[in-house]
Symmetry: C2
DNA sequence: TTGTATGCGTTATCAA
DNA sequence: TTGATAACGCATACAA
């Protein structure tokens, strides 16, 4: 059960440890004969280099740590895909840990990740306080995704939520809607920019804004709708803070005998796999998630290599995905 | 940017490295005075122990590796929650890596995980060939979740898919259904037991089975329904191989002007968060996911501690979750 | 209660 | 091209 070491491989191949080390690192200064002998011995023994020992001895790391705030959310999975692609391409490994949306657990995850002395850290929508991030950033390069920061030694990658809601308003206005409400994400991450984008766009079109307090869940969306119905104050179109909220809102509308999009149009945000389901077919705003991941990894690697010390603030363009939950008001075509 | 070491802490606290080491490991044989001095110095320096160096020196590891075959699937997130709870409780850290459902990428993830020399590995629904698993199992303890194995040095945690489909058939029969078809998962993981459970249950009730080839996706479910419709051969109830498939099937049924559950009842499998959405409200079979994780972590830690060498094969009981997609046939109450 | 060797698996630096 | 030797950061005796 004890794993073989370089020593074992060297012994079996009849060479020195140093030679094995060279072969493992792909050095060109080894004869083909010896190289294949070493490789063969390693294969037979099931040997693979000990990352920790290697990192210790070389004083470098080829590991990037990724903290995913919520593993349950498929949004992050696609970001990780982007990170993974770039990291692998550049010879880095990633290790993932999760914070479960709890600040304390997230802090533990951060410590755990750091205990491996990775070359850098990417935090996906972290909920820990800003000073915890700033402190970590003193020790190693850090990139934030879906969370902003003003600390000068951390890079950020976000989507332009203001623009996203602007697109949504524009879409509804072009369909002929005038009464457009926003189901607000409250304290949720990025809820602020989305709200601001909504308000700004409504003003641009000279329309009266209506912000309904809600949250990033389907039950939250349903609750907001019931409030609107009770108040007898239903608009012709709804802009949800995210897809889950939109789906909950649609359910509540249908429960009340209303039809989407005939009676009310609904737009989500995020373009999760949920929105794409035929059964749901939600008009929504797409964020370029894999691009988030790629840009984050690239920014991090630039820091790791010391190629840059100035912070970068990526603000990506969201895009509108029209599906089946939006139509002209009043069911007219 | 270079992280402090024990040496730095010792220097600042005015003690020896060894003392710092004792404090870090929580040894009781240190005076309170010195302990707090060390802790203070560590805090000020932002020091935390170097996991790799520690593991190297102690010849032990407090890390469990977790390979998640598909980060996009929330199913695994809940399993990870269970693993994480047990691991943390017993003083272990976890590191996660993902295989993206691709055997080659998964193999890379396995190698990467192993390069950290974790105490053990938990593989969630891996798609790598069995011999790759067997080979890895020679080097360290391995537990499989949602995949079976006959290798004697790996433990497995699965749900009893036969029983699960038995429950579903029983439910439909009790509602009065006689024509019950199974949308089969094909080569997918656990599709076999589910199919067998279906066939066995149908036989128990003296009903004619109907297995429709399909797959674990919503488009697969929709396609299967269109086939049935084209053949003019629609049963009164459908048992999907999983929730995604069920949702796709429901969409296709509704597209064809049929109503669920009035015209056709549909049952899913997995009880994903999707099924729980009010908008979907799918009757389905629940697997105790967090329990999967807890049992897997416990099994692994038993091996790690050398408390057990016999393999354990957990087969957990699934349960029926009745929601709104099943009703008596013909819409009668 | 504290300090001092020794070694963990590997890389890096020299000599040979 | 190869083989010794000293780090790397830490834990573990053991001695003081």
């Amino acid at each position: 059960m004890t794993r073989p070491t370089m020593e074992d491989v060297a012994l079996r191949a009849g060479v020195s440890r140093a030679l094995v080390s060279l072969v493992m690192r792909g050095s060109p200064k080894v004869s083909d004969l010896r190289r294949s002998a070493v490789l063969k011995a390693a294969e037979e023994l099931g040997y693979s280099p000990h990352a920790m020992a290697r990192s210790l001895a070389s004083r470098t790391s080829t590991v990037l740590g990724v903290m995913v705030s919520d593993l349950h959310n498929a949004f992050f999975a696609e970001v990780v895909d982007g990170i993974d692609a770039v990291a692998r391409e550049q010879g880095f490994d990633i290790i993932i840990n999760t914070g479960g949306r709890s600040p304390s657990r997230e802090r533990r995850a951060l410590d755990s990740l750091q205990s491996f002395r990775p070359a850098g850290l990417i935090l996906l929508s972290p909920v820990v306080p800003a000073n915890a991030i700033a402190k970590a950033a003193e020790q190693l390069p850090i990139v934030l995704v879906a969370r902003s920061s003003r600390v000068t030694n951390v890079d950020t990658v976000n989507d332009d939520g203001e623009q996203g809601l602007g697109l949504a308003v524009e879409h509804l206005v072009s369909l002929g809607h005038k009464r457009i409400a926003h189901l607000d994400g409250g304290e949720g991450s990025q809820a602020g920019p989305r709200r601001r984008g909504y308000l700004a766009a409504m003003e641009r079109y000279g329309l009266e804004p209506q912000v309904v307090p809600s949250e990033y869940t389907d039950t939250g969306g349903a609750r907001a709708i019931r409030q609107l119905l009770d108040a007898g104050d239903l608009p012709t179109a709804l802009l949800s803070c995210n897809d889950f909220n939109a789906v909950g809102a649609i359910s509540a509308l249908e429960d009340a005998g209303l039809r989407v999009p005939d009676d009310v149009s609904v737009v989500g945000y995020d373009n999760t796999s949920l929105a794409a389901l035929r059964h749901v077919s939600l008009t929504t705003i797409d964020q370029p998630r894999a691009e988030f991941g790629r840009l984050a990894a690239e920014a991090l690697l630039q820091r790791v290599r010391g190629e840059r010390t100035e912070p970068v603030r990526h603000l990506l363009h969201p895009s509108l995905v029209v599906r089946s939950t939006t139509a002209p008001p009043g069911g007219k075509q």
